[in-house]
Structures are given as C-alpha cells and as structure tokens.
Subunit: 438 residues, 2 copies
C-alpha cells in the first residue's frame, strides 16, 4: 500500500468524461459531511469491523470488480494508452486480494482518534485536554490506480473521516464498482453509506467544484502530476495538502565512501524511477570528482540510465548527454539523471536550495560536520545521511499506512499516516470557573 501511494503519473483523459454540476458535487460533499459527523463518534471496534466487512466484500465480489476493470482497460487500450499506465490501471485477482489485505492491515494500527495529545490541570482547577479528532471530509484527487480507491477509503475510515474520492476518468468503471462495494459493506457494518463516495464527475469542472466546497470539505489531497497539484493549490479555497513532487538530490561529498555512494546512487535512481522519492540530480564534490564521476556515471550508464552531464562531468567521462538548465528542475521519473560537479558543501546546499521541491535530499559523507550542516541547512521533508532516498515512505518509516507524502510545511510534512488525517480539539472541564477582568 505504501509503496504504491508514493508513485504517481500524470492522469490522462483516456475516455469520455462524466460531467457533474456544481450542485451535484456540493450535494455529494454535504452527504460526506453528514456521514463524517457519525464516523467521528465511532469506536475503534466499529471501524475495524467495517474494515473487515469491506475486505470480505472485495473478496466475494472479485468477479464484478474484474469485469468492470476490464471495461476501463479496454477503453485505455483502444485509446492507445502506454502499457506502463495500463499496468497500473489493470486489476487481477491477486491485486484485489492485495487491496483486501491492505484494509486488514489497518486493524493492527492504533486508532488516532480520541488520543490525548496533551493534558494538564490549570492553576484555576480547569482540566484542559487536547484530543485527536478526525479532520472530517477528506477529498483525494488521484490518478488511474483503482487500488488508491480502496487504500484511501481504509485510511480515511480508520482515522474517522469520510472519503470523497475523485479518481481518474480512465478508472471510472472500476472505481464505481469498488465504491459501491465499499459503501454497501459500510452499511452492512452499521456505518453510513456515504462513508465513501465518488465525486459524481470526472470532468475538470468537477475538480473546480470540489476545490471550492469550503465548509463541506475539510482537506483536499491532490495526488498526481505537478500540473494538477499546482492547479489545486492555486485554485482551492479548501485547505490543501500538497504531495509528492520530488526533485530529489544526492550529494556525494569529498569524504564519501565511494562504494557506499555507488550503491546509494544506483538504488535511489534505478529502484523505481517513477516514484517521487527517486533521485533526479547527482551532485559530486570537486575534490573527489576525478574518481567518483567515472565510477558513479559508469555504474548509472551500465544500469541503463541516461546521464545529463554538466561540462565538468562530461570532461571526466564519456557517454553522457549535455545537461540543460531545465534538467535541474525536472522530475524525470525515468531512467535519466542530471549530474553536476560542485566546489563545496556550500555550493551543493545552494544548488539544492535553488532546485529542491522539499521532498527528500541526501548526502553521502564520512564527515560529521558536513552531515550536521547538511541536515540543518537543507529544507526538505526528509533529509538523509548515508542511505538511499528510497526510504522516504510511510511503510519504511513504520507508519503502517500512508495517504501520500506531503511536501509542504503546514499540518503534515513527509509521509502522512493516520495521525496526519486528524486534527485536535481542546476540551476544558470546569466547576463554574469564570475569568477575572484583567
């Protein structure tokens, strides 16, 4: 679940879109809001029972899921969609089983709702507690990956929220069947039908309507290409949690162990090039460039990576293509990497400051002072010393579930687990206290 959620593609319009009016979208959001009021009061046991019911329902209706999915896949094939995208869209019996297991995995996680974050008795005898409460209605805009429909529903439910999902047009049939199954399972477990809902449209306007449903939707989490995320951030009056765009750097310092550096750079770039924690630029300290560049670039080349090299790199090794200024700001999401020789740790940090998207930044170094300076001065959700950037992941961090990776500073930063889908409420218990005039 966690790996998949870190991955993303630009959503395509692979089939006819379904239109929804503003009133229809707002009515759906209002139903979600009403459901959220009930969900907020559920015991952990009730939520867990519903998750189990949902998992069982997915298993028992796998045939219906696969036939709906076949329609989406056929439409995508007819539209000439690349196989890599179709692979993400396609469901199999094993993948449906994976979704069901993902829901069951949530049972073992602690319920964040009702946890006391802090508590004290004030001097006047008032008891003050800050308690975790659900956010309410969580809207997620995502790409053509039907597994997200199930994952997001499960994570939202476990944290007491209603899920309002706006999936890709190309997964419409799959998402409809999945949401019908999940919603019916919710009802049979005694929960509201609107525990999970699809936004009733797949056109661009439906996103606009959702973005302005302030007061009905508590947060929008856009997952997808940079263009989608930018549009939502700029247009939304509902609070947004920005996710995922990762222009990730690895800096190989003068004191780096080059064997370690090679393993880390290769893993960070080639393990899964399409995920947001994959490295996009390699920076190499000039003091070690003469040995490091041939070794690292050679290893990358052997792994099929196209190296976009600056002049100093190109002077040290053959087989590269010239880097462009735009490359340093490009999240390739492919077997491409920009490589640049820098004169110092300061230069590396300055380059990262200028080009980072605040996702994950790594240094390979043997120098404690350099490690400390890098972690203090690089402004990103995750700063890594001597390890692969691929570890930026809720599962790897031990969160058990992940709804996305926030690249913003407000509310949540980095992998978002169950607690990140909650807010808090202060509860003040008194015995008639009033406040003095001064």
């Amino acid at each position: 679940m966690t790996t998949a959620s870190a991955e993303r593609t630009t959503p395509g319009s692979l089939r006819e879109t379904v239109s929804a009016t503003r009133d229809e979208v707002l009515a759906a959001a209002a139903r979600s809001r009403s459901a959220a009021a009930d969900l907020a009061l559920l015991s952990s046991a009730s939520k867990d029972r519903a998750l189990q019911t949902m998992a069982a329902a997915l298993r028992s209706q796998v045939a219906a899921i696969l036939s709906a999915n076949a329609l989406d896949v056929a439409a995508a094939e007819a539209a000439g969609t690349p196989e890599s995208l179709i692979d993400r869209l396609r469901l199999t019996e094993a993948r449906v089983e994976g979704m069901a297991t993902g829901l069951e995995d949530l049972l073992a996680l602690p319920d964040p709702v009702g946890q006391t974050v802090r508590g004290s008795v004030l001097p006047n005898g008032l008891s003050l507690q800050q308690i975790r409460v659900p956010l309410g209605v969580v809207a997620i805009i995502y790409e053509a990956r039907p597994n997200v429909t199930v994952d997001a529903t499960g994570i939202a439910l476990k944290s007491g929220n209603a899920a309002l999902l706006r999936g890709s047009a190309s997964a419409w049939e799959s998402n409809r069947v999945l949401v019908d199954i999940l919603s019916a399972a919710a009802v049979s477990a005694g929960l509201p039908a609107d525990t999970v809902q699809l936004v009733p449209g797949t056109d661009r306007e439906s996103v606009s309507h959702l973005m302005t449903a302030r007061g009905l939707v508590d947060v929008i989490i856009p997952r997808g290409g940079a263009g989608l995320i930018k549009a939502v951030v700029e247009g939304s009056t509902v609070p947004v949690i920005e996710t995922g765009v990762g222009n990730v750097h690895v800096f190989v310092d003068a004191s780096a162990d080059l064997e370690m550096a090679e393993a880390i750079v290769l893993n960070a770039k080639t393990r899964r090039p399409s995920v947001c924690n994959a490295a996009e630029t390699l920076l190499v300290h000039t003091d070690v460039a003469e040995t490091a560049i041939p070794r690292l670039v050679g290893a990358l080349g052997a792994a099929g990576v196209t190296v976009h090299a600056d002049d100093r790199t190109a002077a040290l090794v053959a087989g590269t293509v010239p880097v462009t200024a735009a490359d340093y700001d490009t999240e390739f999401l492919s077997l491409d990497i920009a490589v640049k020789v820098v004169d110092s740790l300061d230069d590396a940090i300055a380059h990262i400051r200028a080009h980072s998207t605040g996702h994950t930044e790594a240094i390979v170094t043997g120098d404690l002072a350099a490690a400390r300076a890098f972690t203090a001065r690089v402004d990103a959700a995750v700063v890594v010393v001597n390890a692969s950037t691929a570890f930026t992941d809720g599962g790897e961090f031990g969160f058990g579930a992940e709804i996305g990776i926030s690249t913003q500073k407000l509310h949540a930063r980095g992998p978002m687990g169950l607690a990140e889908l909650t807010s808090t409420k202060y509860v003040l218990n008194g015995t008639g206290q009033i406040r003095s005039a001064s």
Copy 2:
C-alpha cells in the same frame, strides 16, 4: 500579550494608504526568506539575546515611538475614528513597557526548534528522527494595534521564523518606527536586519501581492474582521491559518446549576465583549427556561446587554428586542446577545452545528452524559464544560505566548503558541542502507 492578541476589530482606512508594487512586496518577501534561512540555525541563546536587545531598544527609544504614534493618533482623530479604536492604536509609556516585558516573557519559554517530536531506529538500522524546524517566513496581517507588531516579531523570532508584517494603514508611522527599532536591535545582536520587516505598503493590493508570494512566504495569518479573513482564505495561494472569528454559544442545559450558569453567561458575554471568545448566543433548555430565562436575561439586562430574544424567550421576560435570523450568525463583538429556547440537547447541538464558527462552544450542565455528548459531538477548537468561554486564550492555556486562535482544523486548532509556528523535518541517518526492490 495573550489577551490582546485574541482581540480584534475591522481595520479601518483612517489615512492615506502607502502603495507598493508586486515587485516591491515580492522583494521584501525574498529578503525575509533569506533572513529565515539564517534564523532557523540560531541557538536559543542567540534568539534570547536578540529578544533582550529588542526589549532594551524599545525602552530606550520610547520617545521616538510615542511621537510617531502621536501622528497616527492625530490622523485617526481627524478622520473621526471612534475612541474605542483610537484607544487600541494609542501608545503610552506604560504600553511600550508592556511590549518590552512581553518580549522578555518569551525568554522563559522553551525553544521549540530542534525538539525531537518522535524518534526510532528502524529494523534496518536507520535512525529516524522527526525534528521541529521553523516554518520560515510568517506573514501576519493585522489591525491597528501597534503592540501586535512587537508581539508577533517576538513570537516569530523565538520560534526561528522571520516576521513579515502587514499592519493597518492607520498605524503606519507607529509600525515603521517599531520595526526600525526591532530590526536595528536584531542587527546589533548579530541577527539579520530582515528578521522583521513591514510589507512596504498599506493598500489592498499589497495584501494581494503578499497572498500570492507562494514559495517566498510559508504561511499567512490574517487577523481582523471576517471580511479580511474570507478574502485572504479565498485569494491566497500561500497556506493560510484562519483565526479568530468566534460565533460563540453557551448552552444552559436542563440540569444546569443556575447560579453557575448566571456567572458563566455574564462573564462570557460582558468580560470583554470585543474579543473573539465572548459569547454571542445563549441557548436555554426548555425544561428550565421558565426559571432560567428571567434570571439570565435579567442579569444580562442589568449588565447593559441588549438581549435579542426568540418568541419563547420574549414570552418569559420583558425588555428584549426580537431576534432576527441573521443575529444567529452575527459575531456582535458588543453588548448584544441572541437568546433562544431549545427543546433538547440534540436541538442545542444542531443549532450550534448550523451556526458555529468552530471557535469555542460551552455547556453548563450537571448531567455527565450531556457533558460527554456535547464535547464529543460539537465540532470546535475548544469545547467547554461548566466554565466561561473567556478561557480560550493561549495565556490561560499555559502557552506563555499566542499569535492568534486558529479556527481551522489543519496544522493548528485553537490558541497557537510557539510550537504552532513550527513544522517538522525527518532526519534519516544511515550507514549505507539501500532499499530492496520489492
């Protein structure tokens, strides 16, 4: 400091505005950003020294502050500004001393920056720490209260942030002098001059420019009337923390101790009617209305409060004015209160759900089940049982300092202290770990 910050008024345009181009505002934001990078790395001792230097500078330059302030006050008087607003604008030697003391009060508070929120060693030996870091550039838009200029600078600095302040046009001269003094003090303590800056304009456009300085400004905290807050929330591409609008309810349940209810209602309404935690609507359970309404409305009337009564209330007591539908959604901020008789706890909660701004809601009850239901089902930053709503305040909560009271669910909810002006960063320390392919 904390009491004042909960108070607010609709900012007036009491003098000629100062214009700033978009480029000028963005250039100021870029300078703040650069300063923020330095401030983030400061030790607590350095920040505390700067706060002390600022306090001393305010004391030594009180004459300059008062003569600049006299210009603002004179302009406001010439414009016919109400005395209550002029009183907020006016500085005295005692008030300047209060600002200096406010800065010194911050010395005793723990520095949130660098605190480890959570930490663990992952199964693969990676050390994972989530560490508090400053937000970066904190922009605050506020009313004609020069003390906020100093308070906000201090709180931002203590939490490692640069303050970018957009005060009211009517406090322009006061704010300029204050910021000059604070900035010079920062420099003499070895900090950047742009530790604190005024947005170089007081026109409406300067707010628009600030709102779209995404990437330069990390958060905007608008403080002021509902109109200003709405405009910022709807127009900003920079993340916003909504503050302050409090349509606060007190529900007197059937089982309430009426002596306690009277004291709480009076305190909540009349202690400081202009602050956001003041009560605006009183709901009374029908079972106790016959005795409670005459007692509570009588006490309110005797305290000079105009009671906007529904028909059932008016039938029980004389001397009220008829309530309008709009009254239930009005934050009077004056000696006015809406009063309504409700048939049940459920009706009270339903009314609050329909009209609450999510600030503070209170119940007076002797019934444990009612208290539990109210705290669970009312969705607000602060839910109060048997105490005055006036306790919603960072100072009362023991936070020591407060930048405002958030009425939104994301990032911060309720009184915001130093920790609420921070984000976090994950730091991952390894020994060459790479992630397996699966």
